[in-house]
């Protein structure tokens, strides 16, 4: 799947995907060097700082930081949504790369209701994370 782009399309066709990959690598490298699990190393998520509430993304930085050290379960504890999201984004990146290389459009179009469901799940997740009884499960405020 990953290979040289056809000469007719050239390197420029895949530059966006390469740029995103480079950005991801850079973020991972920074998090590997400077551990986000050390309190205050990157500040606090604005939603926690402003409202004291955990947003759907809270804990993602610490989760990726844990992943760079191979601690998958700890990553899950910081943000259970981060791991599936990262896997999904990785797969989508591969499909994106193939579309850019071949110059074709998407061959699979997810039904609209799936994406509406996704949006609803994320909103519901944002609510449930802040229910005190569920916070230990859904993190990250329950993580010491």
């Amino acid at each position: 799947m990953i290979g040289r782009a056809p000469a007719a399309r050239g390197l420029r066709a895949v530059l966006p995907a390469l740029g995103v990959a480079a950005l991801a690598v850079a973020v991972v490298a920074v998090l590997a060097v400077r551990d986000p699990r050390i309190a205050g190393s990157y500040g606090v998520c604005p939603s926690v700082a402003l409202f004291g509430l955990a947003c759907p993304g809270c804990g993602s930085l610490r989760a990726i930081g844990a992943l760079t050290r191979g601690e998958v379960f700890e990553a899950w504890a910081y943000n259970p949504a981060a791991l599936p999201a990262l896997l999904t984004l990785g797969v989508m990146w591969l499909f994106w790369w193939r579309r850019l290389v071949t110059g074709t459009g998407a061959r699979f179009v997810a039904p609209g209701w799936v994406l509406y469901l996704l949006a609803g799940l994320i909103v519901g997740y944002a609510v449930l994370r802040n229910v005190p009884a569920l916070t230990p499960l859904l993190g990250p405020l329950g993580v010491p």
Partner: protein
């Protein structure tokens, strides 16, 4: 990531006249090609090619020496994918929206996902012009969420550096 094609205007062919199967559009002047789209994919079927490197419809050679993409006709015959009737699906920017929502946590990301859902549902319903409009909105919200996220990052860096 520096070169961009000019954004599509509402007056573009593909917005007003959804291309149907059997109506191959004449490629526009190849000299106005500014390159491939930044995000998403060049619509290969029935939509005006945006660049000289874009494959012309139906696998005919555009004169650039590129073989036709192998996926033409390879839509597995499924009626669920109307690509053969309406052209390639407009980009929904879903990955961008997911990244903005779950990694940066921005309400704008949710809006972007909702518009991505509109892109796909309208496209699958045959409303190609509506799908294109939703695609532009999804892109706009994705850009907005990214811009806000970048502002927050800059703010944090400034605070961190200043003490």
């Amino acid at each position: 990531m520096t070169d961009r094609i000019p954004p599509r205007e509402p007056g573009d062919d593909d917005a007003v006249r959804p291309p149907y199967y059997g109506v191959p559009p004449a490629p526009r002047d190849a000299s106005d090609a500014a390159g491939p789209p930044l995000y998403g994919t060049p619509p290969p079927y029935g939509t005006p090619p945006v660049g000289g490197a874009t494959p012309s419809p139906y696998g005919t050679s555009a004169g650039n020496g590129m073989p036709p993409p192998p996926s033409f006709g390879g839509f597995s015959g499924s009626m669920a994918n109307p690509a053969a009737r309406y052209g390639a699906p407009p980009p929904s920017y879903l990955a961008w929206a997911i990244a903005a929502t779950l990694l940066c946590c921005l309400p704008a990301g949710i809006v972007s996902i909702v518009y991505a859902a509109q892109v796909n549902s309208k496209y699958l319903a045959g409303d190609y012009a509506g799908a294109l409009a939703a695609s532009r909105l999804a892109k706009g919200w994705a850009i907005a969420s990214t811009a806000v996220g970048a502002l927050v990052v800059v703010f944090y860096v400034v605070v961190a550096l200043s003490g």
